[in-house]
């Protein structure tokens, strides 16, 4: 990870036990977080989880009720937004409707005192529009631009100020799926090129996972888990994270024996599973009620039991309820007598050698010990 120029490890943004209340509602509850220079960090969570409040406290639109917000090691609780070295890309962009593209982008420079010379402003606006590939659009009106173009104007308007931190509040929510994919890549590339700290707020797990160095999963004003996208996907600390980050099947059961990282679980529906992994911070005792989480893509399907790979954690006989074509994958909804409904995801290339399963067909499913993760039951 990159550090500040002076080599010291002062975080660019830090929350120190930050709580924010709106009347009775606690929007942020004892947040502790350090964001390093040059990092791409996401706050991920459903609406109302406090992610936007956290972002707005960095921008200066909200003041913490308790605790401190620090930028470059300096407490900024009372510093008004217009004095902070951060810039924001707003949800639906908040571009100035009465100004053209060039003047929107130049806005931040024009607020400086002393105001930079005209030629300097023109040069930097042109450079910014180059960066977001909007050269030639200088005199366009905002409402003449498409959603994706507006998004890039908003980016240019924020980045021209060379902020220490760029805040992005659901920046892609208003775009269609295809454009959103493209913009995700563009944003990531941009961040690498400009080397500015990006803080993204989103409710879209795919967006957070695909772009960020680090993701904070939030719930009810608190951070549930933070880590790299792979950490969160592979090692969720609880069902909430496992469910929020990717899809997961949960099978309820009781601990029979626990040993090392793994455990043998007796499933409520019948049969046992040998789970190879346990959620972080969870210590298991026999008799504990738990959930066994298995990712759909970890479950293998076969028409004959002997066609399944050996050494699985469990073998389940089930019937195909439904088949969903997803392009590169096929998702099956299955139903077993003992475990109820669960999902699997199979790559389509297997179709080339084997015809896909039909609804109503009886199949056998299996997953490896390593694929089974024991989590708390709630």
């Amino acid at each position: 990870m990159r550090n500040g120029q002076n080599g010291a490890t002062v975080p660019t943004v830090a929350f120190r036990n930050v709580t924010k209340r709106f009347g009775e509602v606690v929007a942020a509850n004892g947040l502790e977080l350090e964001i390093r220079s040059g990092e791409f960090l996401s706050f991920l969570g459903p609406s109302g989880c406090g992610k936007t409040t956290a972002l707005r406290m960095i921008a200066g639109f909200e003041q913490p009720s308790e605790g401190d917000v620090l930028i470059d090691g300096t407490r900024v609780n009372e510093l008004p937004a217009y004095r902070r070295p951060v810039n924001m890309v707003f949800q639906s962009y908040a571009l100035f409707p009465h100004l053209n593209v060039a003047r929107n982008v130049a806005y931040g420079l024009l607020q400086r005192s002393p105001r930079p010379p005209r030629t300097e402003i023109d040069r930097r606006v042109a450079a910014m529009l180059d960066l977001v590939q909007l050269r030639g659009f200088e005199n366009r009106r905002i409402w003449e631009m498409s959603g994706g173009q507006q998004q890039r104007v908003a980016l240019a308007r924020a980045l021209i100020n060379e902020p220490k931190v760029l805040l992005l509040d659901e920046p892609l929510a208003a775009l269609d799926r295809k454009l959103r994919r493209d913009m995700q890549i563009e944003l990531q590339n941009l961040q690498r090129r400009v080397g500015i700290t990006f803080i993204l707020v989103t409710h879209d797990q795919e967006e957070a996972l695909s772009m960020s160095d680090r993701v904070c999963i939030m719930r009810d004003g608190g951070i549930v888990q933070q880590g790299t996208p792979a950490d969160l996907y592979d090692r969720p600390v609880n069902r909430y994270v496992a469910d929020f980050v990717g899809k997961s099947n949960f099978f309820a059961g009781t601990v029979l024996t626990a040993r090392g990282g793994g455990a043998v679980i007796e499933l409520d529906g019948g049969g046992t599973v040998t789970a190879g992994r346990t959620g972080e911070g969870l210590s298991l005792l026999p008799g504990d009620a738990v959930s066994v989480a298995v990712r759909p893509e970890q479950i293998v399907l076969a028409r004959r039991e002997d066609a399944l790979p050996a050494g699985g954690a469990a073998t389940i006989s089930a019937r195909v309820q439904n088949r969903i074509f997803l392009g590169e994958h096929i998702e099956y909804l299955l139903r077993s007598e003992t475990l109820g409904e669960f999902l699997t995801l199979a790559p389509r290339r297997s179709e080339l050698t084997e015809r896909p399963f039909e609804a109503g067909e009886a199949v056998f499913a299996a997953f490896s010990t390593e694929a089974a993760l024991v989590l708390g039951s709630e």
């Binding site: 921008a59 200066g60 639109f61 008004p80 937004a81 217009y82 004095r83 951060v86 810039n87 924001m88 707003f90 949800q91 639906s92 908040a94 571009l95 100035f96 409707p97 009465h98 100004l99 053209n100 806005y107 931040g108 607020q111 400086r112 009106r141 905002i142 409402w143 308007r157 924020a158 100020n161």
Partner: protein
């Protein structure tokens, strides 16, 4: 989509939909206007009224009402401007600063005086500006001989007072609709509150100011009660000239000519004004009304 629906319904439906409005316009706007234009080329009947003729005499005589045209064309814009200057801070307070709990009450309070007759409210100003009103108080602090009533100043006060709500409400609406994130964006980009006001709030709410100004301007151009009462018949508007020509001199043809000229002058001012406002840009996005 609406157009498509009409298309499907066929021409009969279109006629049915447009018919009432078209009839309304034809009977109540176009026809009377045509009559006025026709009259304007006629002659005054011996005992007053209209006698058919074809003469440009009435138009050639317009110069005799030059002062009234001049008064109207000077005072209506000035009154509109003053109205906007006074209304804006009030609308701003209502839309931005006032707590929502009080806002409705305050809005109602602005309208309440207008439930009483305009005449009575103007009379009240006659007393306030009359010698036992403001001048008497000025005298108490040693400023003597101030006369306010029957001056241009009094007429302006009356005009601003009389039309203030028409200015406040459109501005209020445009400020109330103003996306608060634009203000945050401006602050985020380094503009302090004062600069944000001048660079964002004011320009974005200009359509409201334009709407209010247009409403007030049009009504002020036709105003005659306020100059008659607070101007004491000395500050004379086109409206007063028209009232005189129709109700006193009974010179309908000349009155018609003055009316036609007033409509033309008003249209020209409105077109000029709209051009100016539109050229300032940013106005097309939000509808003017």
């Amino acid at each position: 989509m609406a157009a498509a629906a009409v298309e499907r319904g066929g021409k009969g439906v279109t006629a049915l939909l447009v018919g009432p409005a078209a009839t309304f316009f034809l009977l109540l706007l176009v026809l009377p206007l045509a009559v006025v234009v026709l009259y304007s080329f006629g002659e005054r009947a011996p005992a007053g009224g209209y006698a058919p003729a074809f003469t440009f005499e009435n138009y050639l005589n317009l110069a005799s009402r030059g002062q009234a045209f001049l008064n109207t064309l000077m005072m209506a814009p000035v009154g509109t401007l003053l109205c906007a200057v006074v209304a804006y801070p009030m609308a701003y307070y209502l839309a931005v600063k006032a707590s929502p709990r009080w806002r409705t009450l305050l809005l109602v309070l602005i309208i309440v005086p207008f439930w009483t007759s305009q005449l009575l409210r103007i009379y009240a100003w006659l007393l306030i500006l009359g010698s036992k009103g403001v001048p008497a108080y000025l005298e108490m602090i040693g400023i003597e001989g101030v006369r306010l009533v029957n001056t241009r100043f009094a007429v302006l006060v009356g005009m601003v007072y009389g039309y203030l709500p028409l200015m406040i409400f459109p501005i209020y609406v445009s400020l109330e609709r103003l996306d608060k994130r634009l203000l945050e964006a401006s602050a985020d980009l380094g503009a302090n509150p004062a600069r944000t006001f001048w660079q964002v709030t004011l320009p974005v709410s200009l359509p409201g100011v334009a709407t209010g100004s247009l409403l007030v301007f049009i009504l002020l151009m036709g105003e005659f009660i306020i100059p008659a009462l607070l101007g004491g018949g000395k500050v004379f508007f086109i409206g007063n000239a028209l009232v005189d020509l129709f109700l006193q001199s009974r010179n309908w043809p000349f009155g018609a000519a003055v009316a036609v000229s007033m409509v033309l002058v008003m249209l020209a001012s409105i077109v000029a004004y709209m051009r100016f406002v539109l050229s300032r840009g940013g106005m097309r996005q939000q509808p003017l009304v």
